[in-house]
Symmetry: C2
Subunit: 252 residues, 2 copies
């Protein structure tokens, strides 16, 4: 497991370097389901790079990934879950605030997760048997603070429409932040900049944070408090275990 | 003017260093008008530092500043407008994503403005006779893009409640970002990461961006299209001049 974790840390930085070096050229942007659901040639090429290296190193392992319908089920054997560029809109418009994410599961059990904030060059990695680090800084487990000294992160529409009470919860806090990427937002939760994060996302958006969060005292749950299915897009929250009951007074 | 601009650039970095060095200690946090309107001892001390240095260098000059009711009118003589920590909530909770801001006006005419992103160590400075730089990188004037390749920044409540049509506008774009500080948000507009910014803010929140923006093709206007009054808290927008008419089809 140690070897695989080391492999993953090297791999994700390689993917980040690849994206940084290719980002200067004009991006080929395509619409997926609608005008604001975008993919670029770099999302696809970075995913190809990740899959090729995993398949070379571990030919028996399987992959679930965002692009091109790569969908091996998480519960079946050794599965790498990949999001080559999380926060594609930020990537396209801002050229920052996006992440590469990798999670590794064995028969549905999370072994380690990685979120790489590419432009800030910060790698969040750990979970399972491994402590969680942001580069060489070990992250502390969640330490409790009152709502009125915290911020929450959320999907903008779910906040605006008060889905499941997200806006009600935000009113107990110092407010909401919308950063536009699950990976970046959940890394802010793990580093204490946000108390919690609420969004409507896919397995590859939450698989890495799910594993690292567990190690730090956070839980990744659907908004009705269940384990997510790792199959479909769901409304989920990434919250401190210690604060779960207090949060569930608002998030119903 | 050259000397004053150089003085201001040195001064704002000094204030930033002061904040960074004092930030490690426990902050004394006070509520101003309500539980989420906060001020810390460092906001006040940084403002005192700024005022003391300005008064020593330019004893005849006057000051308008956020804390302690320092409110010299912008139209009367040589006036420095100061926001010692813009984004106080981010400062308290995140220890990043806040700015020091300085603007300098002569009889109501903006001569230069400065926004210092303290933790990223990026100084946006210029306007009037001076080109606008982000550290040593000259910023380009606004270059047009279609709405569907842009993001907007906004105050979360104004977005959620569709005040003056902000949410309608956001639906034409790739979405909204909420960063929680006028200075940081308007620096993102000037560097092209956001198309525009909408908030409900005070003169010291917009005075610097007003001057720099003018130089880069942006305008700081009230949501009904007027020049702000530089006296009271108003709902304002920071938008590309070239896009003003298109934006005003939604922002009414």
């Amino acid at each position: 497991m140690e070897t695989k974790f080391t492999f993953a840390k090297t791999l994700i930085r390689e993917a980040g370097s690849f994206i940084r070096s290719e980002m200067t050229e004009n991006l080929k942007i395509e619409e997926k389901t609608r005008f604001d659901d975008l993919v670029t040639n770099l999302d696809k090429n970075a995913q190809e790079l990740l899959i090729a290296k995993i398949k070379t190193a571990y030919p028996e392992d399987n992959v679930m990934a965002e692009e091109n319908g790569v969908r091996h089920p998480i519960t079946d054997g050794h599965v790498w879950i990949l999001d080559p560029i999380d926060g594609t809109v930020n990537f396209i418009v801002q050229r920052e605030n996006f992440a590469v994410m990798i999670a590794y599961y064995e028969d549905g059990v999370g072994r380690f997760g990685l979120i790489y904030d590419v432009m800030n060059d910060v790698l969040y990695a750990g979970g399972g048997r491994f402590d969680v680090y942001a580069n060489d800084k070990k992250l502390f487990s969640y330490r409790d603070k009152p709502f009125n000294r915290c911020l929450i992160g959320a999907n903008s529409s779910m906040y605006a429409e008060n889905i499941h009470g997200i806006r009600d919860l935000s009113r107990q806090t110092l407010g909401v932040r919308v950063y536009g990427g699950a990976g970046i937002s959940m890394s802010h939760v793990m580093s204490g900049r946000l108390l919690a994060y609420f969004s409507y996302i896919q397995p590859w958006d939450y698989a890495a944070a799910f594993i690292m969060g567990e190690k730090l005292g956070y839980r990744l749950l659907t908004l009705d408090g269940q384990k997510p299915d790792f199959k479909s897009r769901q409304m989920v929250m990434f919250v401190p275990e210690q604060k779960l009951k207090a949060i569930q007074q608002f998030i119903k």
